[in-house]
């Protein structure tokens, strides 16, 4: 709970500003659900199926928040977000598998894995951002989509092994040239196996809170306002001297680093890690975009709710057997209509005006 007091915004005024209040509600919501599920789990009231959902839901939330930074706040469409998650997952797992016997304290190893992954994903974000961010709109979307696929393909063709002579990197096991005592860590399309299962709900929660803290504070800062001005009117922003490329790169890098951390959370929750279309390909990128769009562009709290509901829904619908994915699709369509259809938006606005008597009107992006 001390995290709330860290917000620099609160020191500025004694009465809470609307944005601060909004953020506090989001923090409170996350903390409430964490405490609720942690208690349920500790007292043994949570089903195994629901327990298994806790960490993946945290991963989806972090991915949704970080993509919202690019799509909602910066206003650029990125379709390769899962690529950064992929880099983070593989770098983090690689590090953990390598250091499993060297660093035996779990939390130190995991923290280092998070740092390694965040740095690797951030570097990838910068490298890709430099050429790519000169593009905008649809072109950017296409290039990021391609980029996500490239990362997946590269990971699937790389073989990395380690023996007494150090690391060996090749495009096939035959060319690896390992000594007999050597061990293949990244085994091409077979991925990395044997990642220690260190992700827990507590770690997932801490990571969600850190992500929230970074993103909400960034949005409320001077930098955040500059970023949003690029989204709202690029030419006007440029004319008042805002360095567009710099801010775009900044957002892209931060978003990539956070996605990299989500990747570590993902890979340390499973003992086998492979890059497929469903987990790191365009399917996943689109899925994250769906979370963001459903939750509302630029709406962080919305992203959290949408990611949780949409991730958990297919699992909760298991009782429907064969109709599961059909019903899921219908629910998704209905939610999209209800959430963003003009009629429902008006209805919701009227309700919120009635409830709050005109105070703090909901913003529609």
């Amino acid at each position: 709970m001390d995290r709330k007091n860290n917000s620099p915004l609160e020191k500025k005024s004694s009465s809470l500003r609307p944005t601060t209040k909004k953020n506090l509600i989001t923090y409170a919501m996350v903390i409430f659900f964490f405490v609720l599920f942690q208690t349920l789990s500790a007292t043994g009231n949570l089903k195994h199926a629901h327990k298994a959902l806790l960490v993946p839901v945290c991963t989806s939330i972090i991915m949704a928040i970080s993509l919202n930074l690019v799509v909602g706040v910066l206003g650029e469409l990125s379709l390769g977000h899962a690529g950064f998650m992929c880099i983070g997952a593989f770098c983090g797992s690689f590090f953990s598998v390598l250091m499993k016997d060297v660093i035996t304290t779990t939390w130190i190893r995991l923290t280092l894995a998070f740092i390694v992954a965040a740095v690797a994903a951030a570097v990838a974000g910068i490298l890709i951002g430099i050429p790519v961010l000169r593009l905008k709109g649809d072109y950017l979307a296409i290039v990021t989509l391609a980029f996500g696929e490239i990362i997946k393909t590269v990971v699937n063709t790389l073989y990395i092994g380690k023996d007494a002579n150090g690391f060996h990197i090749a495009m096939s096991t035959a060319n690896l040239g390992l000594e007999p005592d050597g061990k293949i860590i990244l085994n091409g399309p077979q991925g990395i196996s044997g990642t220690p299962k260190n992700s827990t709900f507590v770690i997932g929660f801490i990571l969600v809170m850190i992500t929230l803290f970074i993103v909400t504070n960034l949005m409320d800062s001077r930098t955040g306002r500059a970023i949003m001005s690029i989204r709202d009117n690029r030419i006007a922003a440029e004319s008042v001297g805002i360095d567009i490329t710099k801010y775009k790169l900044l957002v892209f890098t931060i978003s990539a680093a956070i996605a990299g951390c989500a990747g570590v959370l993902y890979s340390h929750n499973l003992s086998s890690l492979t890059a497929t279309t469903n987990n790191f390909g365009y399917n996943m990128s689109i899925m994250i975009l769906v979370y963001v769009v459903l939750g509302g562009l630029g709406n962080i709290r919305g992203s959290i709710i949408a990611a949780t509901v949409l991730y958990a829904l297919p699992e909760l619908l298991r009782g429907l057997k064969d109709y599961r994915m059909l019903i899921y699709a219908i629910i998704l369509i209905v939610m999209m209509i209800v959430n963003n259809g003009s009629y429902f938006v008006q209805l919701r606005e009227r309700l919120s005006i009635k409830l709050k008597s005109g105070k703090n009107k909901k913003e529609v992006a």
Binding site: G188, G191, Y266, S271, N278, L326, I337, Y343
Partner: protein, 405 residues
């Protein structure tokens, strides 16, 4: 405007229910049959109260759905037969399969769902990557795991995990030995899918084994899922390398394209495939002259005349007359898996009220002592590592039909 939207929603919902109704009536026969089976089992008497619950996980939807569905049907057939014969140790057997869309993360949540249901042992998972993830969970719970078709090495790393199918390395070794033993060729080429675990796994051990057996691998050509339609570059290279035999550790769709394009290029080597080739004759519009003489490893041959296979094939055809496309090695592996579980459970005196971990200990000890005459091999035994010992079968396509080679 709003009326139209509400109308759209209502119509969409109406469509869903119409669809649901359609599939319901389609499934009507099946559901009635299972209902009947249930009433039959209610009529059947079991020596003991309670049920032994066997869970399974596999892709029932998505790209790999055909494997999961075949496993489901094969296992359900075995369960039905076992219940009709008095169950396991006098307990009724309950079987439930959950979908994982061939995704490791989904597989782990499906495992949780099955645990909530009361699963005592797991016959799964069907595909390799999810199996690795689930076997770690099973190890933590000491849950007995028997995968029908998870062929990757890591699938059965825990003590408590076993498998029915051959492992990938094993297939590569068997293929290399088969070529050498039958003097099929001295120069071989391999064409494999580098984006596929199964394919690369077999290729690696095949190449390694070939080297020790004096078999010369003159070309190793790769393709990926994304460019699995045009093989002209690979075929040109293989042709130039002078290979007499092409080993294809791949699935049947690319294999049929490779053989077609090689023929068009005037290249006609001997072909040997892994068990992924199984099903090539079931493809729509397959030109049987093209695949004439093709050999492949397979654990299951429908035309086998032994008693167990005959019982399985007739049982499958009469129980699922509309779904004979699933009568393949996956269904056979699952069928054998359930019978192996039965044999081990009887040996280990597993009861309906035993805890997961106790079942795991009993089954683990019993698995290495049993011998099962199954569809995929007779006298199958298991090592403590979980690998089965059985002779592989090689099938050959002669006159458009598969025969034992």
């Amino acid at each position: 405007m709003k009326l139209r939207k509400i109308l759209a929603v209502v119509l969409a919902l109406a469509m869903v229910f119409a669809f649901a109704a359609c599939t319901k009536s389609d499934n009507g026969g099946k559901e009635d049959a299972s209902g009947e089976a249930n009433s039959n089992t209610a009529a059947l008497s079991f020596a003991n109260e309670g049920t032994i619950k066997i869970g399974s996980i596999g892709p029932l939807t998505g790209d790999a759905a055909q494997y999961g569905n075949a496993v489901k049907l094969g296992a359900e057939l075995a369960v039905k037969e076992i219940n009709a014969a008095g169950g396991i140790n006098g307990y009724e057997v309950e079987f439930r399969m959950e979908d994982d869309v061939n995704d490791a993360e989904k597989s782990v949540t499906a495992y949780g769902t099955l645990k909530d249901w009361g699963m005592q042992m797991l016959m799964g998972t069907v595909t390799s990557t999810p199996c690795k993830a689930v076997s770690t969970e099973a190890e933590a719970d000491n849950m007995f795991l028997l995968t029908p078709s998870g062929s990757s090495v890591d699938c059965i790393q825990p003590d408590v995990a076993f498998r029915v199918c051959f492992s990938d390395p094993n297939q590569g070794i068997v293929a290399a030995n088969y070529i050498v033993d039958n003097a099929l060729a001295t120069k071989v080429a391999v064409i494999f899918n580098s984006s596929d675990t199964y394919s690369t796994g077999i290729k690696d051990t095949f190449v390694a084994e070939a080297a020790t057996k004096g078999l010369e691998v003159v070309a190793q050509e790769a393709f990926t899922n994304d460019n699995a339609t045009d093989f002209s570059a690979q075929i040109t290279n293989i042709k130039a390398s002078g290979a007499e035999l092409v080993f294809m550790p791949i699935y049947y769709t690319p294999a049929s394209l490779i053989m077609k394009q090689a023929k068009d290029a005037g290249f006609a080597p001997t072909y040997l495939g892994s068990d992924g080739i199984d099903g090539i004759l079931g493809m729509d519009n397959i030109d049987t002259s093209l695949v004439e003489g093709l050999m492949y490893l397979t654990p299951f041959l429908e035309s086998s005349t032994d008693e167990v296979t005959a019982r399985f094939v007739t049982g499958f055809k009469s129980t699922y007359p509309d779904q004979t496309q699933y009568l393949n090695q996956f269904a056979a592996d699952a069928y054998d898996a359930i019978y192996a579980i039965k044999a081990a459970a009887e040996k280990g005196n597993v009861t309906a009220d035993m805890e997961i971990s106790a079942v795991g200990d009993a089954m683990k000890a019993a698995m290495v002592e049993i011998s099962v005459d199954g569809v995929t091999g007779s006298g199958i035994t298991w090592s403590a590592e979980g690998e089965p010992t059985k002779t592989p079968r090689v099938a050959k396509i002669v006159n458009g039909k598969t025969e034992a080679a």
